[in-house]
């Protein structure tokens, strides 16, 4: 083993699972659409149960510009650079969906993150014709970021390529023929493949969710399989009504695997994907039924807004942001996932209005799993304008963070009764917490070559 001289991350998923337990967690926290006219910030949360400040925000790193709408985040380096001792997982990239700024935060001192630099959204628009940054993945020494719009916020966007000093290289892809919209992506370098999904144009989703836009075809319903080296789409699959708004795409962590899952958020179906020789296939494996709610003229979808796979590739977790539940599925048989756990936190069905002494605003949304698979962290905000439509109380009362304890032997989930971070009590006023990352890497960022 080369571990003594190695770069960031871990030699394998199995090694990652043996890492020390996480003690800190980063989450973006937003003031967009709350009435607090201050920049969004990165919140550092103490998740060490032995610490006196457990279950609280211990640092706040403010972005330089107001109105970013921080959303997802990603590392400058992950386990894909594990063999490169010149690399370090030192910078967290925090794109602002609405400004297109990419804020780079230095976490050399993990408890005191500091702003390192900003890649200006105006510069990105001018040099690449792209806006609306979303998913950040490192690729050895390079960084690629899915961009959801062109410079004017219209579809289909593309992919931004940054070097390891965060200089704009240009557009990553050679050809986006077949892509209607852009959103998330996952790559499996050993199989020379990438999968990307579709939300909508920034100018469509930023103002809020309108069913009329769905009727006009302004939201995505296709997934795209890429030749990763040639940087072009080789197969697109239009899923029709069963696959509306495919968002998070996850691959198995085992680098020899050429399979994974994604959720069609609006249709509220989970699909599996796999490479089949030189071809790619998908299959619907979970279908969450809509619920008839009194006073609602149309049935309410569950809205699967985030999904992830445990580091050992044994469990699938996802959040139903309108219904209000989090689910765990055993995926030993990938074509027939079996539900093994479920908890309720908030949601429009009203099944868990208060959890751990706090009235929940929103419902399970972003999720992040500990490397050992035993603690699922969850936040309740989706996106400021969509929060304001579905959970209008959040702008005045803030979002929440919880831990769900997961049984990795028998299956099962239980809300940890000792942990809640109520972003309604932040010193500058209530904020919205969203995606989470651990300093040492996690199950939604680390990819192995």
């Amino acid at each position: 083993m080369l571990d003594e001289c190695c770069g960031p991350g871990y030699a394998s998923p199995a090694d990652a699972m043996k890492a020390p337990r996480e003690t800190l967690l980063y989450t973006v926290a937003l003031y967009v659409g709350t009435g607090v006219e201050k920049p969004d910030y990165l919140a550092t949360v103490d998740v060490d149960p032995e610490s006196p400040t457990y279950s609280s925000v211990i640092a706040r790193t403010e972005m330089p510009q107001i109105g970013d709408e921080l959303h997802h985040s990603g590392w400058n380096a992950c386990s894909s650079c594990h063999d490169d001792s010149s690399m370090a997982r030192k910078y967290l990239l925090l794109p602002g969906v609405r400004t297109s700024n990419i804020n780079v935060v230095d976490v050399s001192d993990a408890t005191v993150p500091k702003l390192h630099m900003v890649v200006s959204g105006d510069e990105i628009k001018a040099k690449t014709g792209l806006s609306g940054p979303h998913t950040v993945h490192c690729l050895k020494s390079d960084i690629i970021i899915s961009m959801l719009g062109d410079a004017d916020g219209n579809a289909p966007g593309g992919f931004l390529h940054l070097d390891k000093e965060f200089n704009i290289v240009g557009r990553w892809e050679n050809d986006i023929t077949g892509m209607n919209y852009n959103y998330d992506f996952w790559y499996q370098p050993r199989h020379n493949m990438m999968v990307s999904s579709e939300w909508g144009a920034p100018n469509t989703f930023m103002p809020g969710f309108d069913l009329e836009d769905v009727g006009k075809g302004k939201y995505g319903q296709s997934v795209h399989f890429w030749d990763f080296e040639a940087k072009k789409i080789v197969k697109s699959i239009d899923m029709g009504a069963e696959g509306m708004i495919p968002l998070e795409v996850r691959g198995m962590h085992d680098p020899t695997s050429n399979e994974g899952f994604f959720a069609a958020t609006l249709s509220s179906n989970v699909f599996r994907w796999w490479k089949d020789g030189d071809d790619f296939q998908i299959e619907k494996v979970i279908d969450i039924p809509t619920v008839d709610v009194e006073g609602f003229p149309v049935p309410m979808p569950s809205l699967i807004t985030d999904i992830l796979i445990s580091m050992d590739d044994k469990y699938l977790y996802f959040a139903n942001w309108l219904h209000g539940d989090l689910r765990q599925y055993d995926i030993a048989d990938k074509a027939n996932p079996k539900m093994t756990g479920q908890v309720w936190i908030g949601g429009l069905l009203g099944k868990a209005l208060e959890v751990n002494g706090v009235t929940v605003q929103g419902a399970p949304q972003m999720i992040q799993l500990s490397l050992d698979g035993k603690r699922l962290y969850v936040t309740t905000s989706l996106f400021s304008s969509w929060d304001n439509q579905f959970y209008p109380g959040m702008k005045d009362k803030g979002a929440q963070m919880y831990i769900v304890d997961c049984d990795t032997a028998q299956g099962g989930m239980a809300i940890n009764p000792d942990f809640v971070v109520d972003f309604g009590r932040e010193p500058n006023g209530p904020s919205r917490c969203h995606e989470m990352r651990y300093p040492g890497g996690d199950v939604t960022s680390d990819i192995w070559m």
Binding site: V32, G35, E37, T99, P207, L211, F296, P297, S385
Partner: protein, 114 residues
């Protein structure tokens, strides 16, 4: 010569702004030291929405408001330029009726503004 109009922020103690006909109202407020909601700064994202009480504006490149929202009097301050003297309510406090749960209003597209 540039024409300037008086824009009054009714729910900010009626503070008056002198806004040139080619200046976004958001920028004029910021110049006066008033930080209003802002994000995309090109009319695509709704964060800067405000309610026009009286007057008229033009909003080049503003796309974020649908017909219902525009009919209810909402405007986008990052692109809105006055074409006469205006009175506005600004900030998130002015957003009552701006957002709707789309599943709760489906089939009843344009109910009376709440």
């Amino acid at each position: 010569m540039t024409t300037t109009y008086r824009v009054t922020l009714r729910n900010r103690n009626g503070v008056p702004l002198d806004v040139a006909e080619d200046e976004p109202i958001y920028a004029a407020a910021l110049r006066a030291g008033i930080q209003l909601p802002i994000a995309c700064n090109y009319g695509g994202c709704i964060t800067c929405a405000a309610k026009l009480i009286t007057g008229h504006v033009r909003q080049p490149k503003g796309t974020a408001l649908n017909r219902r929202q525009s009919q209810a009097g909402f405007i986008l301050l990052c692109v809105a330029r006055p074409t006469c003297d205006c009175v506005l309510d600004v900030g998130v406090e002015s957003h009552r009726g701006l957002y709707q749960n789309p599943f709760a209003i489906a089939g009843n597209r344009y109910p009376p503004d709440a």
